[in-house]
Structure formats: C-alpha cells, structure tokens
C-alpha cells in the first residue's frame, strides 16, 4: 500500500504513520519539531473542525527527521504557505485532489509578512492597544518590524501571534 502524494522521496515505508488525505494540502519536509508551529502560523488550531494529521520526527531521506502536516478539505494558497518559509524553509506543498497530487511547490520567502508575528519589543507601538496589524519585512537571516525596526534573527517561531 502506498501513499501517492509522497512517492517522490522514498519515504513510503513511513507514510503509514500518517493517514493519507483525499482532498487538501500536505506540507512535507518540515524541519523536525516544527509541525505545531506550522499550524500556529497558518492559524489552524482545530476549532474550525478541520481534519488535520501530523507526523512529527518521522525518519526521512532528506533530513534525519522531518515533520509532515496534512490538512483535509483545505487548499492552501501560495501566499498562505510562503510565510512558512520563516520556520520551515525546505517545506514542500502538495495540493491533493481525489487522492492525487495535482500541484507541488516549494515555499518562497515573502518580502513582507502581515498579522502573523507579534513584535517582541515592549516599546513598539504595535504592542499596545492600537488598531494596527503587525508587519515585518523579511531579511535574508531574520525578520524586521516595520514599525519599531527591531530585527529578530533567533527563534522566530516564538513571535507567532496565537
């Protein structure tokens, strides 16, 4: 028994750990341990009833360990997934329809991310009660608040606005 949409990298033996989906999105090659951050950054917490499967620290050919996230019934757009590049730069996105992978693409680093991260600078105007959406420009090696200009290079996942 094989899982069609994961054929490409020879991880088939391990795919049984995560059930295959009929229609939706498979986010593969997420760095081991980042799957929950992937869901957080996408704003998926299960409260809307989405069917979500997660494999964490699954052995992989490409990495020693990888995470996989499968979201049933939802096709994520390029804009939605590009923000994942901040925490899962090697992720691949598979759009599945009727058990077949119909689209496959990589995440690309966006120039700007809006409303996903919150600024860690307590002196920043965006951390108060102002009606403003956070905005970060994406640098080669980090992100930068467009308001207070603070640069964050480490632990970007900790900035995810939940």
């Amino acid at each position: 028994m094989s899982d069609d949409h994961d054929h490409h990298d020879g991880d088939d033996d391990h795919e049984l750990r995560v059930s295959k989906i009929r229609d939706g999105t498979v986010i593969d090659h997420v760095r081991g341990g980042q799957a929950l951050n992937v869901l957080a950054i996408l704003g998926i917490d299960g409260t809307d009833g989405e069917e979500v499967s997660i494999g964490m620290n699954v052995p992989s050919d490409r990495f020693a360990r990888k995470d996989i996230v499968k979201v049933e019934g939802r096709e994520l757009s390029q804009d939605e997934v590009d923000v994942l590049s901040l925490i899962a730069p090697d992720a691949t996105i598979n759009i599945v329809r009727d058990y077949d992978v119909v689209e496959k693409h990589r995440v690309e680093r966006p120039e700007v991310v809006e409303g996903v991260l919150s600024c860690p600078n307590a002196g920043c105007i965006t951390t108060g009660d102002e009606p403003v959406t956070s905005r970060f420009s994406v640098l080669e090696d980090g992100v930068r608040c467009s308001y207070c200009e603070r640069i964050v290079r480490e632990e970007i996942a900790s900035l995810i606005d939940t």
């Binding site: 105007i125 102002e130 009606p131 608040c145 200009e149 640069i151």
Partner: protein, 314 residues
C-alpha cells in the same frame, strides 16, 4: 494634492535633504519674505512626552510663517488619559488642523499614525527611534560650519538610546562622511542602526570607539550627547563612565582649531561652560537653527506644489 510625511531620516535622499536645507537658508536670509505665506494655517501639536525646545521651535516656526498652533496639552489633561488610542487621537485632531507634529514614547508611533491621516505628519521623536527634524537642523548647522562632504565627525555619549544620534547617523550616509561613534560599551549604537548604516555605506565609513582621545585630532565636528543617570544601575558606575565623556578646554587642546562642537541640548555637564565662548561652540547656533529649518519643513510640506522630496526621487 501631494502631502508627504516626515517620519524618519532614512526616507530622505541627498536631494531631499538639500531641498530642505536650501529652503532653510533662503528663509534664514530673509524671514520677512515668508511672514504671511501660511496665514490661516493651523498646526496641531501632539506631545505625549515632555518637550521644551522642540515644541517651542515648532510653535515659533508656524507663527513666523503667519499661521498658528493648537496644542493637545499634557497627556494628563487629555482624552489619552481616558484610554483613547493614538490612531483615534490623530484622526480627530487631523480634522481640526492642516498638519500634525507628533512626539510619542513608543517606537514606530509616527509610522503608525501616518497610516491613519492624510495631512502632513512630522515625527518629533518616537521613543528611542527617530527625530528627523532635529537631524535636519543638525545637518544645517554642520553644513554652515564644516560642510557635509569630506566630513569627519565624532558622535559621542549615549548612542544606544539617543534618537537624535540614530537619525543623524542615517542621514549622514548620504554624504561623504567618516563617522566615529564614541561611547561606553553599554551605550553603543543599537545593532539595528549599525546594520542599516552598513547597508547604506560600506563599513569603512563607520567606526566605533570607547575613547575620544585617538580620534579627536582628526575631527571636523564633535557631536556630544548627554549620558543619562537613569541608564545606569548605580550612581558610582554612572559617575565613573560619564566623566570620560565630558569635554572641557583641556580636552580640546588636542583638537583641530577648526573643530565644531555640537550638542542637541539640554546639556548637564558634558560640555564645560568655558567652551561656550570659544570658536568651537556651535550648540546655541544649532538650537536657533531649529526655527528656520522647521519653517522650511512646514513650508515645503504645507505647499500644494512642493514637498520634501528632492528631484532625484521624482
């Protein structure tokens, strides 16, 4: 109708800066020529932090252009005390006035406020962020005294929290300058500012030091800022550090005769009063330049056919 805002000095090109400084020089030479130029114009002053000279020089500038000001007053007596957001405050006052001046303790406040208003908004200081109108009067003073190209400048004191320093350093990257930053290690330039300076200029134009001694003889301008007591955990440490960044007549014996000494004021004891009467001292002239420079900024921002964008950016 075009309306620019003035939020940070980073937004300004060399041509923009020269547009403002040239206009300031015209106004300085003949202030009476613009005495009625902005009659019936109202400037809104929103100072969420105390200010004496910035606020008074904006008020003077607007009145010398024939206009007037309306002042929110202190935060204690305003609706901010009731919990109103800055976004709401600026949208309300925008309806009363033709332009806004904002000082606020939070970084990025002016950037955010400018997204909510259509009238020109001038940043008069946002936390440890930027203070671009101070930068324009600093640049004007430097141009008058030493010229802006082939300039070697030392910027000394509290470089970490000093927003005037951050704005000035950014602006100077538009010119051929060698910038020496002199401070105790704990008050060095924020890494964000160093990052930006390196993006703008290759690293050779930027050097950081803990002592003034080695670089003083090479300087055309020494820009001194105040090291604040509250930045240090205890009085002893403050006294030990602050003393190394104070200058007096003996310090300046090693300096060039043409050295220009500047300070954004207020000073406490960073510059000994004995220097006030020497040819080095330019800090009172610098403070006076706040009026013609702010007149120039208001004139350009309030004129339908102008703005602060120089032609190079068109």
């Amino acid at each position: 109708m075009r309306h620019d805002h003035l939020i940070t000095s980073k937004q300004l090109s060399r041509a923009d800066i020269e547009t403002v400084l040239d206009r300031a020089a015209e106004i300085d030479a003949d202030p009476s020529a613009v005495a009625d130029r902005h009659a019936n114009t109202l400037l809104g002053l929103l100072f969420f932090e105390p200010s004496t000279r910035t606020k008074m020089s904006f008020e003077t500038a607007m009145k010398r252009l024939g206009g007037d000001v309306v002042d929110m007053g202190s935060v204690e007596s305003s609706s901010v005390k009731k919990g109103e957001t800055l976004a709401d405050t600026v949208r309300v006052i925008e309806g009363y006035t033709d332009a806004l001046v904002l000082r606020h303790p939070k970084q990025g406040a002016a950037t955010m406020a400018s997204e909510f208003v259509d009238v020109p908004l001038l940043n008069a200081g946002d936390g440890a962020g930027h203070h671009p109108t101070q930068t324009m009067l600093d640049l004007y003073t430097i141009r008058e005294n030493a010229g802006l190209d082939d300039l070697t400048i030392g910027i000394m004191g509290d470089l970490k929290y000093g927003r005037t320093v951050h704005s000035l350093a950014h602006a100077l990257t538009n010119f051929e300058t060698q910038q020496h930053f002199i401070s105790p290690e704990s008050l060095q330039l924020p890494r964000e500012v160093v990052y930006d300076l390196h993006q703008r200029q290759d690293g050779s134009g930027i050097k950081e030091h803990e002592s003034l001694e080695a670089v003083l003889p090479s300087l055309d301008v020494l820009y001194v800022t105040r090291i604040q007591r509250e930045r240090f955990p205890d009085e002893n440490e403050y006294q030990k550090v602050a003393g190394e960044y104070q200058i007096d007549a003996a310090t300046l014996e090693a300096a060039s005769d043409d050295l220009t000494v500047m300070h954004p004021l207020p000073r406490v004891d960073e510059i000994a009063p004995e220097i006030d009467d020497t040819d080095h001292a330019a800090y009172f002239e610098q403070a006076h330049n706040g009026v013609p420079v702010r007149m120039a900024l208001l004139d350009l921002l309030l004129s339908d056919d102008r703005g602060i964008r120089g032609e190079a950016d068109e």
